[in-house]
């Protein structure tokens, strides 16, 4: 049958699309993992760079990335959670909600380099925070705010309405209900959002190009006003500004592997938690 042939051909094409997608993505992971593994060692993970960054390790970059992540989440979580609670629990109608929703969606679509410029103009120059963990964290926090808001919203919506009603019928106030009933229930979902944000923040380079990152620092940052090394910036800098190509390419592979591992692990964790949540609530 001609139609059957067409169907088989069509389905084959679809299968090839899927296979190709997985192939390319797997290829990237394979290359980074295989070449990066050669460089990873305990020394690599815990030592500072030495000998013009051709030896030693990348510990300051790892630590720097962690600080930036911490700062961004500290900034974005309270704000984002508050916004989600407002949209979900206090649930105003009409114009106000739509404005906020539109802003969130559009903020989510802003290119990362524009965030970097904003951070540069406002935090680095206008507020005189300089190139620092503070500027970088605030910039990254704004970048990741929509992600936290949408995850928190999803988590809050998933809490069954009946629980709230039961609480109200017992005489609890709105805030009391939120604090004692809704939030604890929504915690796994909110946690998912935080974890996803960690992955997102750790991998972003453009926002920290002008607001936080340094090429080489011997030690660890002493205050929020220090510059930091960061894994994604380190990869970029080694490849474009490096001084000793061969050794530094190898180091870049190592950094890529660490970053890849970190991000995939974190995202995987979040997805896993979310799957369990969803299967519970079905």
């Amino acid at each position: 049958m001609k139609t059957k042939h067409i169907q088989n051909l069509g389905f084959l094409c679809l299968f090839l699309c899927m296979a190709a997608t997985l192939f390319f993505l797997g290829l990237i992971i394979y290359f980074i993992t295989s070449r990066g593994m050669r460089v990873i060692s305990w020394e690599f993970l815990t030592q500072v760079p030495r000998m013009s960054m051709t030896q030693g390790g990348v510990a300051p970059a790892i630590v720097g990335t962690l600080y930036l992540v911490l700062g961004a989440i500290l900034f974005a979580l309270p704000l984002g959670l508050a916004c989600a609670i407002y949209l979900c629990e206090y649930s105003p109608k009409g114009f106000v909600v739509n404005i906020i929703r539109i802003s969130i969606n559009n903020l989510a679509g802003v290119p990362s380099v524009v965030f970097g410029l904003f951070g540069l103009a406002v935090f680095v120059k206008f507020f005189h925070f300089g190139v620092s963990i503070l500027s970088g964290s605030l910039t990254l926090g704004i970048l990741v705010l929509p992600l936290i808001i949408s995850s928190a919203q999803e988590a809050l919506i998933a809490v069954p309405q009946s629980i709230r009603e039961a609480s109200f019928s017992l005489g609890a106030t709105r805030w009391g209900t939120i604090k004692n009933i809704v939030l604890p229930n929504a915690l796994p979902g909110i946690l998912t959002g935080v974890i996803l944000s960690i992955g997102r923040v750790a991998g972003e380079t453009a926002p920290i190009l002008f607001t936080a990152a340094a090429f080489y620092i011997r030690g660890y940052p002493k205050s929020v006003f220090s510059e930091v090394m960061a894994l994604p910036y380190h990869i970029y800098a080694l490849m474009t500004e490096g001084t000793h190509r061969d050794e530094q390419t190898a180091i870049a592979y190592g950094c890529s592997l660490i970053l890849l591992f970190l991000v995939l692990f974190v995202s995987g964790l979040a997805i896993y938690i979310r799957q369990k949540q969803r299967s519970q609530h079905v």
Partner: protein
Amino acid sequence: MKKTILLFVAATLLFVQGVKASDRIVMEGSTTVLPIAQKTAEVYMDGNPQAQISVRGGGSSVGITSLIDGTCDIADASRSIKDTELEKAASRGVSPKAHVVAMDGIVLIVNPSNTVNGLTKQQAKDIFTGKVSNWSEVGGRNEKIVSISRDSSSGTFEAFGALVLGGAKVRPDALLQASNQAVVSIVSQTPGAIGYVGLGYVTGAVKSLEFEGVKASKETVLTGKYKVGRPLFMYTNGDPKGATKNFIDFVKSAEGQKIAEQEGFVGLK
């Protein structure tokens, strides 16, 4: 729950000190100077554990801009400061002071497979401004010339433009790279490529060309026989004080100069 939050806030507050340590030095700028800056910073910090030096590249213009905007202490530059920059600095109350830390030559490099051995100034200018596009026109193979240049933040770019191109514009199809190292990478992998880098970046992966019949080396740069030579600077805001002064003295000292030589540049002696 409340206790953990309080503890957390306390820990965070402890971390937020916000006092710029007096022996913290921020260095930014030229990728040509970067190897010297980095290595001297490392050695200096080995000898002075309380010093905290952070190094960034970006190009000479980035460093000078940072100095003017007040976001760095030392601007590494492979060119001298421009008048427009001096004006801008003056309007901000910044008075840049130049410290020469090494001498450098800008070397024309090609792929090792290239048969050409040298170029005249006119030939180099014609190639980079777009008048000459094939190696056969300058005595090489019949092959398209791929021009590798630096982007506009580079001091090497400015110096090359002034010393070789006489201020003419680089051809629009030149590939603009962010660092000396990037130029070396591309030239070493591309048979028809030509680029220009600081003397310290010439490795076995590329072939250096004679300029006007003179091979670039430490001697020819020092004596001035190699015409495309230039000083490498570190700029500070006014006279350097404290840790910054100590560091710059170190770079200019015999030990610092030895490091510059090791990195392939020309010491000042």
